[in-house]
Amino acid sequence: MHILTAENLNKTFYQNVALHDLNLAIPKQSIYGLLGPNGAGKSTFIRIVNQIIDADSGLITINGEKLSPKHIGTIGYLPEERGLYKKMKVGEQLLYLAQLKGLSKSDAKKRIKEWLERFEAGDWLGKKVEDLSKGMQQKVQFISTVMHEPELIILDEPFSGFDPINANLIKDEILKLREKGSTIIFSTHRMESVEELCDHIALINKSEKIIEGEKSAIKDEYKSHIFKLAYKGNQLADNGGYQLLSSEQDLNGIHHAKLKLNEGASSSELLRAVLGHDVEIISFHEEIPSISDIFIKLVKDNHLEVEASAQ
């Protein structure tokens, strides 16, 4: 079941294509990373989902229903450009934003109190935002995003403005919210910052999706089948199961080798073959590509394809 789907979404700003036939499907209760460089179209997509702007064409569904104003309360949104009314008191401000999301006044007050207490900030209610420290403002900002208990939480560049302590605090809260049933979309150009958190990802480049799916499946698919081996003993050579890419010996006499698995072979076959050489294995692990490695590889391939078709 998907909480959010996008079908053939298109958006153009004065001849600049921001989104081109974008299709996405975001599974319920996932932590979904929407990744891509600046200007790829991530923020445009998010603004369309938040009904701030309209798509030129295409369809968005939330829980299988066509996106409409009634879904405003379903979504919690932390934009990249974010701030608060500086002259307003924390309590009034949160109440205002919660009521705009459709919460009743009494519900909103109760939740504001709960959230502030959770962040050990119960006494901030009557303080003006401009009198709070930057870190405190960030917490208020986060509360405003999630206090109406949205099913779908969209965080655009979530960790760019937050200090490391708040970032960790918010990571913990996000995981708790997911356990309670929320779905979280992270949108960022800093892929390494969310890699460990996400279970699903989509890579977007130049207004188009290049890949989407479960993070582990994508990583499997783009595995390089390269293993790193540290060992003592005689130098290894190529054999039927693997290919020796490089091998260096350090001052302690330890060899550091990169081995590429041959087509159809498994890692245990590789290990068995290595052991047959009478070496002492110190470490052995698979070189797993990071998301940004995969992205770069895909963009490069994509780019070459484009060039090839142009010729």
């Binding site: 004065y14 701030i52 702007i53 309209d54 979504i75 450009e81 608060l84 934003l97």
Partner: protein
């Protein structure tokens, strides 16, 4: 509560709770009666001290100089040179020298003062001598004292305003002028003050970067309308407080100085152009009675309902444009290039009202100023005070409604895109692009 309602309430409360709001709301009504009170006070003081003003007269022609409230005349039986010495040693206000004059060709009247005489002072003495010469001339042509007294008349013009239904109403150009001035000035002031408050509010939201959070819950258009209405509510409350406070404080000031309307009238008459004028009892002045009648006859309900219409519609028309300007820029200093074209029609309307409508309310220029939506709130309010054909009023109002619907639409299209744009230098070309963009 609807979402627009929430926005209106926030806009209203956040402004009304500010200290500066409280300060301005209380200070302005204090300043106005204080200024009036001080002016009246000094006018009265001047009047009192005027009785002590001593004027030496060296009169070789034998005119009569009657003491009045301002001047005490002291005839000196000495030569001019002796009088000059005495005058320079004395505290006297002035020395008037009337040489022996040929009444057919009067010449040589001289006023000596220790400082430069004002135009009022010199014309006052000229008037005294002129009227005496006139009397002498009349007598010389054989007119008796009795006939001379009968010649002195005091005329005031009664202007009757004939309505289409044949009704006759007392009208007074002075009152019409005053009303025209007050109405058009109030509309002008309100639109500019609160219009720019809308703009500042929009810029604040944009530079605070809260706006994207807000528009994820409410349509940009709703946010803009809520802001415009919220600021209007602040303005109306502030105006209402001012009107009440100024009214109360003014009556307090008047009662403190023990002033009646006649005193004010008298104070205004302290600089009469003719010495005869102060002989006329002001309270019994037929002109005054007519004026009072005209004041009572003003169709206040009619004026006030038209005033409210133009007040609100003018505010909406310009307020929307100010919101659009605020959305297009990142800070106040960038706003200048756009605020000038927005305020220009308002200023043209205001100046045009003084140059054309007040002088010739039914002229061609006045007509167009009061019909075109951008200038009509100010110009039509001034024309209404002088009387305006119903069809022109209806046309003006209809165009005004079309006008603000148009500017709100236009502003909405700029606003929805502008508020999300950061760090882009916006030109008129970009604004035009935004207006054309579907969404």
């Amino acid at each position: 509560m609807s979402k627009i309602g929430l926005v209106i309430r926030r806009e209203f409360e956040s402004r009304v709770k500010k200290k500066s709001f409280l300060l301005v709301t209380i200070l302005v009504p204090l300043i106005f009666p204080a200024v009036i009170g001080i002016m009246v006070y000094f006018a009265m003081e001047e009047e009192k001290s005027a009785e002590q003003k001593q004027v030496y007269v060296v009169d070789e022609s034998g005119f009569d100089f009657e003491n009045d409230r301002k001047y005490a005349f002291d005839k000196m039986n000495m030569s001019l040179d002796e009088a000059k010495v005495m005058f320079s040693e004395s505290d006297a206000y002035a020395l008037l020298y009337v040489p022996k004059m040929d009444i057919e060709n009067p010449d040589g009247l001289t006023l000596y003062m220790k400082n430069n005489p004002s135009l009022d002072v010199s014309s006052f003495f000229e008037n005294i001598v002129e009227s005496q010469i006139r009397d002498r001339k009349l007598k010389a042509s054989g007119i008796t004292e009795e006939q001379l007294d009968k010649l002195k008349t005091n005329i005031s013009l009664r202007a009757i305003n004939m309505t289409d239904s044949g009704e006759e109403k007392e009208s007074s150009a002075g009152i019409a002028f005053g009303l025209a001035y007050a109405f058009s000035f109030l509309v002008y002031l309100f639109v500019l003050i609160y219009g720019s408050q809308i703009m500042q509010g929009v810029i604040e939201e944009k530079s605070n970067k809260i706006v994207e959070i807000v528009v994820s819950s409410i349509k940009p258009f709703q946010l803009m309308i809520g802001k415009v209405i919220g600021v209007a509510a602040v303005g109306i409350v502030q105006f209402a407080i001012w009107v009440v406070l100024i009214g109360v404080l003014s009556s307090v000031v008047f009662s403190v100085f023990n002033l009646t309307p006649e005193d004010i009238q008298a104070a205004q008459n302290t600089m009469p152009s003719s010495p005869n004028q102060e002989l006329v009892s002001s309270s019994m002045n037929p002109e005054m009675l007519q004026t009072m009648q005209a004041v009572y006859d003003i169709p206040y309900g009619y004026y006030i309902s038209i005033f409210i219409f133009f007040f609100i519609s003018g505010y909406l028309l310009y307020g929307a444009l100010f919101a659009a300007v605020g959305s297009a820029v990142d800070n106040i200093s960038d706003a200048q290039q756009f605020t000038l074209p927005v305020t220009m029609p308002m200023i043209i309307g205001f100046l045009g009202t003084f140059m054309f409508v007040m002088r010739e309310p039914d002229g061609n220029v006045s007509f167009w100023l009061s019909i075109i939506p951008f200038t009509s709130p100010v110009a039509m309010m001034a024309r209404v005070a002088f009387g305006v054909p119903t069809w022109e009023l209806i046309l003006s109002m209809a165009l005004m409604i079309a006008g603000f619907v148009f500017t709100i639409w236009l502003a909405g299209r700029i606003y929805r895109i502008g508020i999300l744009m950061h760090g882009t230098k916006v030109s008129y070309k970009t604004l035009f692009k935004w207006i054309k963009t579907s969404n």
